[in-house]
């Protein structure tokens, strides 16, 4: 009868493990003591280990800010490196709490994958990287090329659409990770590498001969990239969304990591006072402490600082681009914190 007992307990455990998951992500995160954040981990400027082995980049910084908003401590975050193919499953299965991995917001993903997108921390478009010695100056000359592309991305779909629309032929060379894609291109497995332009800039810096490759002028798609969460937990969705808004609002209001203490003490601007938790109950409304945004800005910086620190070194100018604030001619527009 021991075998039977064993069988019963095994099945009981099995059945329990597939019970519907509870929805309160914030409670889980607090109980666990750290935030689980899914990133790419191989794209400099977005998420890649720095010289000391800490995850750095605009995607990683967002997670630090979120951890600061929740715990008051930006270091309470652990990163999971995910390929494009793994990311949504990792999110919906609860392996990560938030996906901050240059992920494009699309209708299919939003409607069928059980994920919700929040807002954008980088607005991108797809382009092509080619070796200079091919003498190609425009994407319209690429018919017949082999194209390195990462599997399971919107990039892959835009590529197919673009060549079809322009009546050109191509052969895809589909790799799993950004790093393999770069190695394939570097080694000559393909003529062209296609990805979001920000990633192309990052990939180009890592080539054996960065000067030997050039990014073609065409931008063939819209790629609004931003954090995503599991569907079905509205409170968590709000927290993730408004933490991003807080960073963008902070830049708009001129609050940065340098002057945030002074602003909290002295500012008479009600918007700033609400943002930093001096007035109102903004943080508490979200289920966090009232100084959530203060902590995030103090420890990580506002959106402008994050951009300058991570993306500017790739040679991607913010001024005059869509990634500038709406007040500066861009399209980054965060709703008011009130």
């Amino acid at each position: 009868m021991r075998a039977l007992g064993l069988a019963i307990s095994t099945f009981a455990a099995l059945a329990l493990s597939v019970m519907p998951a509870s929805a309160a992500t914030l409670d889980e995160v607090k109980e666990r003591g750290h935030l689980q954040c899914g990133v790419d981990g191989g794209i400099p400027g977005f998420s890649a280990p720095d010289d000391e082995g800490n995850m750095a980049g605009i995607d990683a910084d967002y997670c630090y800010a979120l951890a600061a908003a929740i715990f008051g401590d930006s270091s309470k975050v652990k990163f999971t490196n995910l390929t494009a193919k793994e990311r949504f499953t990792a999110l919906t299965s609860g392996e990560i709490d938030v996906l901050s991995r240059n992920t494009t917001d699309t209708l299919t993903r939003d409607a069928t994958l059980g994920v919700n997108f929040t807002y954008y921390n980088y607005i991108d478009g797809q382009g092509f990287l080619v070796k200079k010695d091919l003498g190609v100056t425009s994407a319209t000359q690429l018919s017949g090329a082999k194209v390195c592309v990462q599997a399971g991305t919107t990039t892959e779909l835009n590529l197919a659409d673009y060549f079809r629309v322009n009546d050109m032929e191509f052969e895809p060379v589909v790799y799993d990770t950004s790093v393999q894609t770069r190695e394939g291109f570097d080694g000559g497995a393909c003529d062209v590498l296609t990805s979001d332009k920000s990633q192309l800039a990052a990939i180009r810096t890592e080539l054996a001969d960065p000067e030997g490759a050039v990014i073609l002028p065409e931008t063939i798609s819209k790629e609004p990239l931003g954090p995503a969460v599991r569907q079905g937990d509205d409170q968590w969705h709000d927290i993730v969304r408004w933490t991003l808004f807080a960073l963008i609002n902070a830049e708009e209001l001129g609050v940065n990591s340098e002057n945030v203490d002074q602003m909290r003490e002295e500012s008479t601007n009600p918007s700033v006072r609400r943002l930093l938790g001096v007035e109102g109950t903004m943080g508490e409304n979200l289920g966090l402490s009232n100084d959530w945004a203060y902590n995030a800005i103090k420890q990580v910086g506002n959106y402008g600082e994050i951009y300058e620190r991570n993306v500017e070194p790739l040679g991607l100018e913010r001024e005059g681009s869509v990634n500038a604030l709406w007040t500066e001619g861009g399209i980054l527009y965060a709703p008011p914190i009130r």
Binding site: A111, G114, D176, G187
Partner: protein
């Protein structure tokens, strides 16, 4: 048997056994049911849509390598992508199994060779390839060896302006049967030639049975084949034409293409699996009793003849069962192809298609089913072969 000896049914081991079996079965069914309902509930709760509807939708991405099934971007539905994935998995598995068997046999026999250098070399080969991770080997051959070693398409290594080798792959002329009497004649000649090989072989066997002397039957058959084909070419000027690969702006087009990822994967799977097969072969040969070798030697047989006629046939029954599992491993290991961009089932179907549709449950289930089928087929065929080999033995 008196009445007193009858035990009540609840203490009867037979009934108790049945009761336990039924209970366990019920528990298993209940667990499966729970898993199913919970999965459905969870999917609904999270807004994940599922079903088979997507299979007839048009796949919105491109497929690079599909030698036998036509893929047309913007027209081909998802279920064809599934077939292409299976096709590519089978191609690399079959190629890998054939090559690994040949290489494995050579290395296995070499390892037992009296030649010190040869046997040491075989040992080193086995130890290195068996003891490093396969993924590492695949990536090593692709990124560190073949990509840098072979030149770009513009500087391809060519053989007679017809065969090209570069870091995109191997390009061969593609034979095209022109639709004419000549083409049919050629086909007939080849079929007759192959038939002749079998017929002559049979005749040679019969001759040996009666006279003890065996004429070179296979050679006669082969000669017949060559003569027949030659005659066809003599009578009909062009029964066959070749499509020669041509250099375009970026790549070679046309002809038969063996893309580099396929080559890298095939090479890595072959060298890796051959190391294991070599060990099976060595074990098999060692299992044949020494008396057999001595007896064969006393007949004056040379070592190659001895191996071929006496030792290997007896070793086969030891070699085959573990080699079946190596074949299965090779098939499953081909799923590491994604690292070098070869589009087999896991890369194309459980990777790209899954990610573009989000249909994880359906797609993973279909993928598992394919591997299950391939495994059962492979082991079924080899078990059948194994039984045949076993019957020979007394």
């Amino acid at each position: 048997m008196s009445r007193n000896n009858r035990i009540p049914f609840y203490r009867n081991p037979v009934y108790r056994g049945i009761a336990v079996q039924i209970t366990v079965l019920a528990l298993v069914l209940w667990a499966l049911y729970t898993i199913f309902t919970n999965t459905v509930a969870n999917l609904n709760e999270r807004g994940i849509q599922t079903g088979f509807g997507f299979l007839t939708e048009t796949a919105p991405f491109a497929v690079g390598f599909s030698p036998f099934i036509d893929y047309k971007l913007g027209e081909t539905p998802y279920w064809v992508v599934f077939l292409i994935g299976i096709q590519n998995t089978i191609i690399v598995s079959v190629l890998g199994i054939l090559a690994a068997t040949i290489l494995g046999f050579i290395v296995g026999v070499a390892r037992l060779s009296p030649n010190f250098l040869l046997s040491r070399f075989a040992s080193v080969y086995v130890e290195i390839f068996r003891n490093t991770p396969l993924l590492l080997q695949i990536m090593f051959w692709n990124f560190a060896v073949f990509l840098p070693l072979f030149p770009g398409p513009r500087e391809s290594i060519t053989v007679g302006e017809e065969i090209f080798l570069n870091n995109r792959g191997l390009y061969l002329p593609k034979p095209i049967l022109t639709e004419s009497v000549g083409a049919w004649a050629l086909l007939a000649a080849v079929v007759m030639g192959i038939f002749a090989i079998f017929a002559f072989n049979r005749w040679a066997k019969a001759k040996q049975y009666h006279t003890g002397y065996r004429p070179p039957g296979r050679l006669y058959g082969l000669l017949t084949l060559v003569v027949l084909v030659f005659l066809v070419f003599l009578i009909f000027p062009a029964p066959l034409s070749f499509e020669i690969p041509e250099l375009g702006r970026f790549n070679l087009t046309g002809g038969i293409q063996v893309p580099l990822p396929l080559f890298s994967l095939w090479f890595a799977l072959t060298t890796y699996t051959a190391a294991f097969i070599a060990e099976n072969v060595r074990g098999g040969i060692n299992s044949v009793s020494k008396g057999q070798t001595e007896a064969a030697a006393s007949l004056g047989l040379k070592r190659p003849t001895m191996l071929r006629l006496v030792i290997i046939p007896q070793a086969m029954r030891v070699i085959i069962p573990p080699t079946i599992s190596q074949y299965l491993n090779l098939t499953k290991n081909s799923s590491l192809a994604v690292a070098v961009a070869y589009e087999e089932l896991v890369n194309l179907w459980a990777g790209i298609a899954l990610n573009q549709t989000g249909q994880a449950l359906v797609i993973i289930a279909m993928t598992i089913l394919v591997y299950e089928t391939l495994s059962l087929l492979t082991s079924g065929i080899l078990n059948w072969y194994n039984r045949r080999v076993q019957v020979v033995e007394r």
